[in-house]
């Protein structure tokens, strides 16, 4: 990953973070890499409907991953 790519992805992520979280089912967003290039990865609670999320934003590729509900992981028998 070149430094410029990473810096750019960081900057774009910072500016659009609130927008990412406004999309349906988004539980997280961060930096990842694909074939040596920085990408923004969006974590979803459930499979996205088509058209919910664009393929890129300001030239930075977006990748989605469905992870389900992220929970604090103490033993869940009788928790909370």
């Amino acid at each position: 990953m070149t430094r410029v790519d990473l810096e750019k992805a960081r900057e774009v992520l910072r500016r659009h973070r609130a927008w990412f979280f406004s999309l349906p089912g988004v539980v997280g967003v961060g930096i990842s890499s694909r074939e040596g290039e920085a990408v923004i990865e969006i974590l979803l609670e459930r499979e996205p409907s088509s058209g919910d999320i664009p393929a890129e934003i300001e030239g930075v590729p977006l990748r989605v991953r469905t992870v389900g509900e992220l929970r604090a992981q103490r033993e869940d028998v009788g928790a909370d």
Partner: protein
């Protein structure tokens, strides 16, 4: 029994890397030897493989698993693609262990159970590191509260299983953005705990997590699992019961089955045995951890 486990842990430490290099080996643990379907009382080195290779003749000699290593018999268990460790090695983790190593069950009197991550230091004092939601009952705990090993869900009782008292925690902010879910407990005596982490050995200091880095964790529920760092600098919403709590600066391991409920508080460890993170959340599909330096800084402790 614990003396023998310590001996085997040392033997395992010397042979772990070599074993993990063999084809299909996914993990190494300690468990009771199973002979003809019957569990014996002999402790053995349990080698977890994705599938048993047969017949023996087809396996190159360098990839064969010896029947015995330094006098300890081996037991090869087919775990398929590793999701959870088999019951024997994890059963040990839910037992009462003195001294207690990283990777075993622990918890505040008011929680179920989580994982004792590792020991951290401030000056000459050593503390147990885990999560706020494990050692401080998600902001409900008070300094001096009993910490049980094993945790209450694994049979830990007051006072006989008390191992430490809650020392400090970073309060979780339910309406703001959080950096860590972390707490430390002060052992009642230094002889009650050891630096070893089950199935890993003694960690070699702190490191920084990097994208695509291979990592391990040793936790109370799923034992030793392997994965890689898939996302860094992540902002994430995590459910605590029904409450959604936001974190920033987190890392994600996108590996199904890497952790489950009860693994919270586990140390995330690199291939060169440095601690790079503290696990606190996850789903069936992914695990979330905090870079360890953030945790150390927030609690003003060192590894």
């Amino acid at each position: 029994m614990w003396e023998r486990i310590k001996e085997i842990l040392e033997i395992k430490g010397r042979h772990l890397e070599g074993l993990l290099r063999k084809a299909t080996v996914r993990g190494v643990g300690i468990g009771y030897k199973v002979v003809g379907g019957e569990v014996t009382d002999e402790l053995s080195l349990v080698v977890l493989v994705t599938r048993k290779l047969k017949p023996l003749e087809d396996i190159p000699p360098s990839h064969r698993i010896p029947r015995e290593i330094e006098g300890v018999r081996t037991d090869v268990i087919d775990v398929g693609v590793v999701r959870v460790s088999p019951p024997e090695p994890t059963a040990l983790r839910r037992d009462r262990l003195r001294p207690a190593p990283g990777g075993c069950s622990i918890g505040h009197v008011r929680v179920t159970a989580g994982t004792m991550g590792c020991l951290v230091r401030r000056g000459k004092e050593r503390f147990i590191l885990s999560n706020n939601h494990v050692l401080a009952a998600t902001n409900l705990g008070a300094k001096g509260d009993y910490i049980l090993q094993p945790g209450p869900a694994d049979g830990g009782r007051v006072p006989e299983d008390g191992i430490a008292e809650l020392a400090e925690y970073v309060p979780l902010d339910f309406s703001g953005v959080n950096q860590v879910d972390a707490a430390i407990a002060r052992p009642f005596s230094q002889e009650l705990v050891v630096d070893e982490i089950l199935d890993i050995g003694v960690p070699l200091g702190a490191g920084d997590p990097e994208l695509q880095q291979e990592v391990l964790k040793s936790g109370r529920t799923t034992g030793l699992t392997r994965g890689h760092v898939g996302v860094v600098e992540a902002t994430i919403d995590v459910l605590y019961g029904e409450r959604k709590v936001r974190f920033e600066g987190q890392c994600v391991i996108p590996v199904p089955g890497f952790s489950r409920g009860g693994d919270s508080g586990s140390a995330i460890i690199s291939a060169d045995r440095k601690i790079v993170g503290l696990l606190f959340a996850g789903s069936e599909e992914a695990t979330v951890f905090t870079p360890i330096r953030r945790v150390l800084q927030a609690l003003k402790v060192e590894l």
